[in-house]
């Protein structure tokens, strides 16, 4: 991206040329990959022309003015179709931009289009999209991961330099890991959620996906910071791309939680992550074995809270103010028919589970219990960060699985086993490629940092990145 920014700055390439190159790559590859739900060819070309005109006048809005970006389709874009990969919103055109989109436009980034996801971000493979699965660019028989699978695959397939995703339990990091790109789940509240279609408001965060750590940091710098329209962002610091300094790892205390390296972890994934850990040690980091025993409860806690919050949030889709409606003579029948026809199977499953755990007779035993276990998880993470500066784990227990392989929903939920803890405790976490398995599939490494420690996490990520050999080039 630094190269692209320089090429734009010196006039060796124009924003229009970049957008045309992206559109061409999408035409060549997206018939197979299916990363995009909407490509805004005309809008992106217009924004690129405006960017080129600004550059010609010497009035670039930012160093990245003119570099196109893709947006996950649960983030509102004014006038540009936003479906959440759901039938119920298939013709929905938001009346306003999400704050993150507004900020990218203010930095001069043309919006190339909207990327595929699991319906309402509920899933880990994009197989639950109402508009078809996104294929992994490294092997089209395999999933790209999810729920931000479209954003991860688009970056990996060279369709766009960078993209935004959302992460509620791993939805940026897991697809980044599967597709061999870099993805950040920021600290809860550091990025505005205004205009992002909520899945679980106490867990959701917007974050960047890109090819390199530096690019992810640059995109993050454009979206981070307080927004008066999202009260949970109150006091959140902005972010600037740091001066890179490999010396940060000297004396760095790296927590290695044994629970994340236990049975169920693929041997090749473990070997790659441990190799990166040794590299850090050779450069002066101190590896500290730690225990995060509460991770054993993370998925069950996550599942209870996410279904409860989702069932409440999705009550707004009732066929009254936007979206599709199925006509009926009375209101309650209209609501039920509209929702029954508009939502897919996984969304209905989560609404049912969420309604159950929130119902009067089960609230205490399930929802309140999960909130209290969440406190235990949070406390354990806080204690860990008294002893260590970062925590390093695999991002996922395995590399990308085959399309159709995980038929049991509970099995699907387990692919968030190593990622949900960061959402439950609100800390930041970065996933980046740390090698490839014997089938040529990317392996992801996760660096978790305490609240607002994104800069440190990026610094460490950059050192890991520099030590990892480039894998096989994606051929699509």
């Amino acid at each position: 991206m630094r190269e692209l920014a320089e090429l734009l700055q010196t006039g060796q390439v124009s924003s229009t040329e970049l957008v045309i190159a992206c559109l061409e790559q999408i035409k060549q590859t997206d018939g197979v990959i299916n990363a995009f739900l909407t490509v805004d060819e005309q809008g992106a070309l217009e924004q690129a022309a405006q960017s080129d005109a600004r550059r010609a006048r010497g009035e670039a809005l930012s160093p990245w003015d003119g570099i196109p970006v893709a947006i996950k389709d649960n983030i509102s874009t004014r006038g540009l179709r936003t479906t959440c990969a759901s039938r119920i919103l298939r013709n929905y055109h938001p009346v306003y931009d999400a704050t993150v989109v507004e900020r990218l436009k203010q930095a001069g980034l043309p919006i190339l289009g909207k990327t595929n996801l699991d319906e309402f971000a509920m899933g880990s493979s994009t197989e639950y999209s109402a508009f078809g699965v996104t294929k992994n660019p490294h092997d089209p028989a395999r999933v790209a991961g999810g729920s931000s699978g479209g954003s991860a695959a688009a970056v990996a397939a060279g369709q766009v330099p960078w993209a935004l995703g959302t992460d509620t339990g791993g939805s940026i990091r897991q697809p980044s890991s599967f597709c061999g790109v870099v993805g950040l789940k920021p600290t809860y509240g550091r990025v505005s959620r205004y205009g992002v279609v909520a899945l679980a408001p106490s867990l959701d965060q917007v974050g960047p996906l890109a090819k390199t750590v530096e690019e992810a940091a640059a995109l993050f710098s454009l979206i981070a910071g307080e927004d008066p329209r999202d009260a949970t962002s109150a006091g959140a610091p902005a972010f600037q791309v740091p001066r890179w300094n490999a010396a940060v790892v000297q004396g760095l205390r790296v927590g290695v939680p044994e629970e994340f390296f236990s049975s169920g972890l693929n041997a090749e994934v473990e070997a790659a992550v441990r190799r990166s850990l040794r590299t850090l040690e050779e450069q002066g980091a101190v590896l500290k074995p730690i225990s995060l025993a509460t991770n054993d409860y993370a998925i069950d806690t996550y599942l209870t809270l996410v279904t409860a919050e989702a069932s409440s949030c999705l009550a707004r889709f009732d066929g009254v103010r936007y979206g599709e409606r199925v006509a009926a003579p009375d209101a309650n029948t209209m609501f039920a028919k509209t929702r029954g026809a508009g939502f897919g199977a996984e969304v209905k499953r989560r609404i049912m589970l969420g309604t159950y755990v929130l119902s009067a007779s089960h609230y205490e035993a399930y929802y309140e219990q999960a909130q209290r276990v969440r406190t235990l998880i949070k406390l354990e993470i806080a204690r860990a960060f008294e002893q260590v500066d970062v925590i390093i784990t695999p991002t996922t227990p395995s590399t990308a699985f085959r399309i159709g392989e995980k038929r049991n929903p509970l099995e699907m939920y387990l692919s968030d086993l190593y990622t949900a803890t960061a959402n439950l405790s609100g800390i930041c976490a970065l996933s980046l490629p740390c090698g490839y398995d014997s089938q040529g599939l990317p392996i992801g490494l996760q660096i978790m940092g305490d609240h607002y420690q994104e800069e440190l996490v990026f610094q460490v990520g950059r050192v890991v990145e520099a030590s990892v050999e480039r894998g096989p080039k994606v051929e699509v």
Binding site: V95, S202, D300, V320, R349, A370
Partner: protein, 97 residues
């Protein structure tokens, strides 16, 4: 065990029309979910308060200032059915027309 009647009751609460197959499917799913819920119930949380917010912040208030609203026409344009500047819905309250 969660029975079929309870599943139908949940679907009614959630305003969600389900087919016969879906009722069967979600009866099975709710029951398998109960197993993982039971695991959480084994955890000792005595003396622990629940977390509803991941990062503790002081309650945030902003100045009460009049801002810009979304244009009415644009908002109504997304409605499935509108009439005279309002969203139109089927009858909610029983009674005479």
């Amino acid at each position: 065990m969660i029975g079929r009647e309870e599943v139908i009751r949940m679907a009614t609460l959630a305003r969600l029309e389900l087919s016969e197959e879906e009722i069967e499917l979600y009866t099975r799913d709710l029951n398998s979910f109960l197993v993982s819920g039971k695991k959480l119930q084994q955890v000792d949380v005595s003396g622990i308060t629940g977390t509803s917010h991941a990062v503790s912040v002081i309650h945030a208030l902003r100045r009460d200032e009049v801002g810009e609203s979304l244009p009415r026409e644009a908002v109504l344009a997304e409605g499935p059915e509108v009439l005279d500047g309002y969203f139109k819905v089927p009858r909610i309250v029983e009674g005479q027309e």
